[in-house]
Symmetry: C3
Subunit: 223 residues, 3 copies
């Protein structure tokens, strides 16, 4: 299910407090830093004068934040023959012209999508109205089918729990059971987030429907 | 207007000097760090004990750097009917074939652009020669119009003030007054930068011209 | 040649052991951290007081890792006239229809690729089977030729030395001798990596083949 970041902050803070208990008499300051959300320090040559470094690190938490665990992305491709009424994605170029001229596989077929992401496997009542959506593109880049695909998209959260976007890109290696994409940035509730989105094929129905199970974990974010 | 990073470093360095005056016997080291271009962190109440903290944090500054504040991006779309002479963008596929075959909206229409970015709203004298350009793609991913769009592009700086690129991606949610995209990386003057680019629709003229007001803020960068 | 990260980790681990010997009674904990994959930071002289520092800092290292130095990317474009048998890339839209309708340059031509990356300039015996591949897209965004191109792709490592992906995006400014793209994320052996990929045109043969020399350097990664 989709967890709110706030609950995770709680964990993160707990972690910081624990660290604080290893130190003496700096609690107030700690709170201050926490409130300001310091970023991680990197790469300075220092000596014992610099003990406070430890505290700085608390700024960037190392705890994994599962923003969206076991969430499903639905893709209903308009393939130029079926109805567009319930499709959530379409090919950028007219595939008939493209594929005919290629006499080859789906290599080069690029799809633009705006699909719902749901906590269960079932399609939502309304494909247009969901609190979490994935909006972006994928294209097939292998001659053999099933072909690998490359994804670049934004996960758009619009719920009371979370508002903001996570931006994702990477290769979906079909031969692998699970494929890790990179979360390269985020906005609003996910301000400056980075992490990994793990995809797993969950269902394929012919050419016009597939469902991906997705786990999104953040390893860096600001507070 | 477009601020140079150097002006911000100036502020940052002043900060460091101030901190140095609070410490004793670390001047040489400070100078070394300074040479590396470290910048003090904003808003920390330092005393001698915490001075080192400042130094360490300073490797990653939290001061916001407005690389491009109130800058305008111009998009003049070649729609296959108007002239290409002054167009700055074009559709990847022949839209007539695409849209006719879809009997639907602009969903799936992908545009490649190389547009000027200007400090004012007016088009520059030469569309080809400007010191800041946005080069990338966008595509519409919503059936309804005005449709959401997804952007991935590089802001290319080629002025005496700044040289280098910022790489941006994210969803342009048309329903929002302002939309935050992620700055996921940078090169040269913007080496390893990360931040947020905020878009605001500023003008739309039919199908072939729009202007976006853009603010680019960096929250992480190396010096 | 392609260096394995493991060699770098080896250094990192050696570091940790060395540090452990400098501390007293923290060995078990250290092992735990090790299990979590933390690595000591370069150039830090630790003692008991700083054990916490070690754990925290180590999450980020600033040693530069040349993941792929002097590696070559091959692109053999299927231009809809030559054979597809050995092509490694293809245009998303049928270019004849596109370019005819545009009466212009390659502006807007988008190519999907899945090309081999080799340590030498020679094409590999098998274009389909190489341990390092670049899979993604590029498109031309300038009217004049030779045109600038914009790249977004994943470098997929599948060797015994490295397994995982690096995700890259940025502008290839043809006018520059070398062009820096951003490595915005990584997976598996390159978990959470960030850095810069430097491109240099190495060979062009007409419209259907080019070879890029690529250096990939990471400035941030987790272990």
């Amino acid at each position: 299910m989709i967890k709110t970041l706030s609950s995770h902050w709680a964990i993160g803070l707990k972690w910081v407090f624990k660290t604080k208990s290893d130190e003496h008499g700096h609690i107030v300051k700690h709170k201050a830093w926490l409130a300001k959300g310091y970023v991680q320090q990197h790469g300075v040559d220092f000596d014992e004068v610099f003990a406070p470094v430890a505290r700085l690190e608390s700024v960037r938490t190392i705890l994994v934040v599962a923003v969206a665990a076991d969430i499903y992305f639905h893709d209903i491709l308009y393939d130029f023959s079926n109805s567009t009424s319930n499709s959530t994605s379409t090919v950028v170029a007219k595939p008939t012209a493209l594929l005919q001229s290629m006499n080859t596989s789906v290599l080069g077929m690029m799809v633009v999508f705006n699909g719902p992401m749901t906590e269960g496997k079932a399609l939502p009542p309304s494909l247009e109205e969901t609190t979490v959506r994935a909006q972006g593109l994928y294209f097939y880049n292998k001659k053999q089918t099933p072909a690998d695909a490359w994804f670049a998209f934004s996960v758009v959260f619009n719920s009371t729990g979370n508002r903001g976007t996570l931006n994702v890109m990477g290769e979906d290696l079909f031969s692998e059971k699970t494929r890790d994409l990179s979360v390269v940035g985020g906005t609003s509730d996910f301000f400056m987030a980075r992490g990994v989105a793990t995809l797993r094929g969950d269902a394929i129905e012919g050419f016009t429907y597939f469902r991906l199970q997705m786990d999104i974990k953040l390893y860096e974010y600001y507070v």
